[in-house]
């Protein structure tokens, strides 16, 4: 059940460039378990959209099935939303985006929805470089069906029942870099300082932006022995700070010279990233894969913006579609009329 929130608003609430308050980006009350990482991610999406001054109705939210896929009900209630079928959100998002290139597409999925039932569509939507933000709320288990391991569960992680996971995990970030995602980040639901700028950057990126967000399941996967618990992830998180500077704003923060990399995005906004080391070039796929593997060997999980390709062709570039959205074309634009049919008939006689 989605509960409505009280409409009360503090008279001094800050408004953004489009005249909206943060409240305008909220959704219904969450029905997820208290302490669920997913709710923090919803809050981060709300902050990101508010701070980017996006008009809520210019966003389309899409999801599949599972705990994570319920969350679009908990943010941006002024946006249209499509809660589709399990593992198939990427195709619905592709069709929607092809039909109207002018909206901002935010997809929310889970590790079951993405890495198991939806693996095929997930790989292909990245390969097509669809212009969208795709957030995986990754908790390593199936919450709604009571805690079975998912395909992102780490080897030897212990389930709540005490079973040891014998299978290899699928690393969504490495997969994303391999098959063609042009913006790949990993973050942690408990690290708002990193997550909010990453979401802002993902939305500003032109092309497919994947965010694999570790989001612990407080009910089924937050115990000792689980690699995806809050405590364990905090302990192993190698977080690279991310600072997002929207276009038109001056850069004010200062970092250690030499350890900071600035990345200018397509829309003119700038990402300031603290480097892990001088060898790591986030605009080089192999370098990114090497850095992820290097940290993984040392039992560290690298989070932050891991890879970006700023000059890629998104699907509309490849398809060469008109700049005017296809869904705004009228019969006059599209229907050739009877005279053309006469010429068709003539050619078939």
């Amino acid at each position: 059940m989605t509960y409505a929130k009280p409409a009360f608003r503090h008279p001094d609430s800050k408004t953004n460039e489009v005249g909206c308050t943060r409240r305008d980006y909220e959704g219904g009350l969450s029905t997820l378990c208290a302490g669920c990482g997913h709710d923090s991610i919803s809050a981060a999406i709300i902050d990101a959209c508010f701070e980017l001054s996006i008009e809520p109705h210019r966003v389309a939210k899409l999801s599949g099935i599972g705990c994570s896929s319920k969350t679009p009900a908990y943010f941006l209630s002024g946006s249209h939303s499509f809660n589709s079928v399990h593992g198939r959100m990427p195709s619905v998002a592709t069709g929607a985006n092809v039909a109207n290139r002018d909206l901002i597409y935010i997809g929310v999925s889970g590790d079951g929805d993405t890495a198991s039932i939806g693996m095929g569509q997930f790989a292909h939507v990245m390969r097509r470089n669809l212009n969208m933000t795709y957030i995986v709320e990754n908790n390593g288990c199936y919450g709604l069906t009571k805690g079975q391991d998912s395909a992102t569960m780490d080897t030897d992680s212990v389930s709540k029942k005490g079973d040891i996971n014998p299978y290899m995990p699928i690393d969504l970030v490495r997969l994303g870099i391999e098959v063609g995602a042009t913006f790949v980040g990993r973050s942690f639901s408990g690290d708002k300082a990193q997550l909010v700028p990453l979401i802002k950057a993902a939305i500003s990126h032109r092309g497919f932006a994947l965010l694999d967000v570790i989001s612990p399941c407080v009910t089924f996967n937050n115990h000792q022995g689980s690699t995806k618990s809050y405590a364990n992830f905090r302990e192993h998180n190698e977080a690279m700070p991310v600072d997002f500077v929207p276009r038109r704003e001056a850069i004010t923060t200062s970092y250690d010279a030499g350890m900071v990399q600035e990345v200018c995005l397509h829309d003119g906004s700038v990402l300031r990233l603290q480097k892990v080391n001088n060898e790591y070039n986030i605009e080089d796929a192999q370098s990114a894969l090497d850095a992820i593997a290097h940290h993984s060997k040392q039992d560290r999980i690298l989070t932050g913006l891991l890879y970006i390709n700023r000059d890629s062709e998104e699907l509309h570039d490849v398809l060469q579609t008109a700049s005017k959205p296809l869904n705004t074309m009228s019969q006059r634009d599209l229907c050739p009329g009877s005279r053309f049919l006469d010429s068709i008939n003539a050619g078939l006689r």
């Binding site: 059940m1 929607a96 985006n97 092809v98 292909h124 869904n327 009877s338």
Partner: protein, 623 residues
């Protein structure tokens, strides 16, 4: 045996090896007859293979304008030794067998009641050409040339067709015409031309083709044109025989019509998906966003798309799906025809679902019904499935020219625009039935800054699109969907009913490509004094006249091309008539289009007049 004689009424079959270029030569043969103003219906009977297996091309010439398969073969053009034994056995007594004399005839397969016409095809090619591919390709052209002499084809028309076919590759014209002449020359010198069966231009045309203003086109191309005319901008698909040419043709026409001359940008998008699930998902996403989108597939794709069809039904998103049916189940016979997806399409997906189906019988209907499908899908906010089949989709059919009424306007259904939302004072309820027809109002994403946003989902929701597990609300919604399906009955194309000259309690009921041979069988039976009323179904849900028709007859033969009599069962399921004893199943499911002879014979059997006419050509065929 006396050689068969017939003017403008016979069946010719070509037995070829696939991948040898025979299709274009055979197509030219059929088109030449068509250009002579003689009714013709060609059919490819091909393997699921690219090169080396037997393939056939059957051409029916019918002065009466019958376009379905008749049954039987009057002349076999045998170019494939692999299938020789089978091919010989199909020729009717008195028929002709054209074969390659380069190798000696296998005497085990020689029939005394068949007339053998030997042409040294391979030898002629070996002598004339040095390149091996040319030797293979020109063999086909040589036999077409020989047939021109044997059957009296207008040679000037053949030459025109060669010129048209090789427009832009002019240097191929002369060698092709030379090959035609070689064949013509050989036949003229060695046989008495024309044969007993032959063509004659200027004969009286059948009553339903009064002035021979006809076109020759395949159903898939007509469907694709329908999608262009309907304003479809998004096609998402996964390649599958026999539907692939729908999207190929859509792309071909879009390249001509939908590229902005100024910018070179496209007013359409075609996405080849990773599978049929994804193709259907894209169609739903695009339609949700207010673009007209469609996909084309065949049986295996319907199975995969069922999940999404259920979502579109329940979440009320328009979608157009073209099912070019082939022989199932599973991979079945991928290059053979059937009408066996009726159940899979009508009830696709788990839970209580029903989908609107349209059954085109001709290319002209593929065109008009595809245009109609987009209107229906948007008006009803539900998937609409065009139930074509391989025979209709991939073969060329003679058809009256396509027509389009320029005053017609798309019906985009109940969509609230930004202005309408702005003017609204009451709360928008996505699933409120305001008009009593079960159809609610929808909005496109981004339509209005503060109004009209809603949550689309495949889970139960209330009238305002909020999630609910309240049983009463769920039932209310399910009943509204049923009400919407009732409304569909008043919108879908009505059935075509034809009453017999004399009163009768017996009737035929059929749909799609079964119609042509069924109408022919009907005329044959009428001549024998057997009268039957007919109903050609054109849509599901069944309209009122279908129920009335069943009610009014004692016995209705339901003719269809599947094993289980799926349409008969659907009629029993979905009409209120007590019809179990009335509806008699007549089925054919060997993967080849059902023949008129077969239908007539089965009906005679049911009526107890089976021995009146044998299953061999009647007197009139020989006369």
């Amino acid at each position: 045996m006396q050689p068969k004689e017939s003017i403008n009424d016979f069946v010719i079959k070509f037995a070829n090896v696939n991948g040898t270029g025979s299709a274009s030569a055979n197509g030219m043969f059929a088109k030449a007859i068509f250009r002579m103003g003689i009714p013709v219906s060609p059919r490819n009977i091909f393997p699921s293979n690219i090169q080396g297996l037997p393939t056939w091309y059957e051409v029916r010439v019918s002065r009466d304008g019958y376009l379905g398969r008749r049954g039987g073969v009057d002349m076999m053009i045998s170019v494939n030794p692999q299938s020789f034994a089978k091919d010989v056995s199909e020729v009717e007594p008195g028929g002709y067998m054209v074969y390659d004399t380069t190798k000696p005839l296998d005497l085990r397969h020689v029939r005394r009641d068949v007339n053998y016409l030997g042409i040294p095809l391979t030898e002629m090619c070996l002598r004339e050409y040095t390149d091996s591919r040319q030797r293979q390709l020109f063999k086909n052209v040589i036999y077409v040339g020989a047939l021109a002499a044997l059957l009296n084809i207008d040679f000037a028309i053949l030459k025109d067709l060669v010129r048209e076919q090789f427009k832009g590759k002019e240097k191929l014209i002369t060698p092709n015409i030379h090959a035609l002449e070689m064949g013509h020359q050989y036949a003229s010198t060695h046989f008495t031309c024309p044969l007993g069966i032959h063509l004659k231009a200027g004969e009286q045309t059948p009553k339903h083709i009064e002035e021979f203003d006809q076109i020759l086109m395949d159903g898939n191309t007509a469907t694709a044109l329908g999608a262009v005319y309907a304003g479809a901008t998004v096609a998402a698909w996964y390649p599958i025989t026999p539907s692939t040419s729908v999207v190929d043709a859509f792309e071909k026409y879009c390249r001509r019509l939908r590229i902005d001359p100024g910018t070179g940008k496209k007013n359409y998008a075609i996405v080849q998906a990773e599978d049929e699930l994804s193709a259907m998902g894209m169609v739903i996403g695009a339609n949700w966003n207010g673009a007209r989108a469609f996909t084309a597939t065949s049986g295996p794709g319907i199975s995969l798309m069922s999940e999404f069809l259920g979502l579109a039904y329940f979440a009320e998103v328009p979608a157009v799906l073209v099912d070019v049916q082939r022989a199932g189940p599973s991979t079945g016979m991928p290059t053979r025809t059937q009408q066996s997806d009726i159940f899979a399409a009508a009830y696709a997906s788990h839970g209580d679902t029903k989908h609107v189906l349209l059954f085109p019988a001709t290319p002209a209907e593929c065109f008009s019904m595809t245009v109609e499908a987009f209107d229906l899908a948007e008006r009803l906010q539900t998937p609409v499935i065009l139930m074509s089949d391989l025979d209709l989709g991939m073969n060329e059919w003679m058809s009256p020219p396509l027509e389009f009424d320029d005053s017609y306007r798309y019906d985009r259904g109940k969509v609230l625009t930004g202005e309408e939302l702005e003017a609204m004072t009451e709360r928008f309820g996505r699933y409120l039935d305001l008009d009593g027809d079960g159809i609610p109002y929808r909005t496109y994403p981004g339509a209005h800054p503060t109004k009209g946003a809603y949550f689309t989902r495949g889970s139960s929701r209330d009238e305002y699109a909020a999630y609910t597990e309240d049983g009463d609300v769920y039932v209310r919604n399910m009943d509204r969907l049923l009400q919407k399906f009732e409304t569909a009955k008043s919108l879908v194309p009505e059935a075509k009913i034809k009453m017999a000259d004399a009163p009768t309690q017996d009737a035929l009921l059929f749909f799609g490509t079964t119609a042509s041979p069924a109408y022919e069988a009907l005329e044959t039976l009428e001549k024998e004094g057997i009268h039957l009323d007919t109903l050609r179904l054109r849509s599901f849900p069944f309209t009122q006249e279908v129920e009335d028709f069943i009610e009014a007859h004692d016995r209705i033969f339901v003719i269809e091309q599947n094993r289980d009599g799926q349409m008969r069962r659907l009629l029993l399921n979905e009409t209120n008539v007590e019809a179990n004893a009335k509806l008699v199943s007549v089925v054919e499911y060997d993967g080849l289009p059902v023949t008129a002879r077969k239908i007539a014979a089965v009906i005679r059997g049911h009526l107890g007049v089976n021995n009146v006419t044998p299953l061999v050509p009647q007197e009139k065929d020989i006369a």
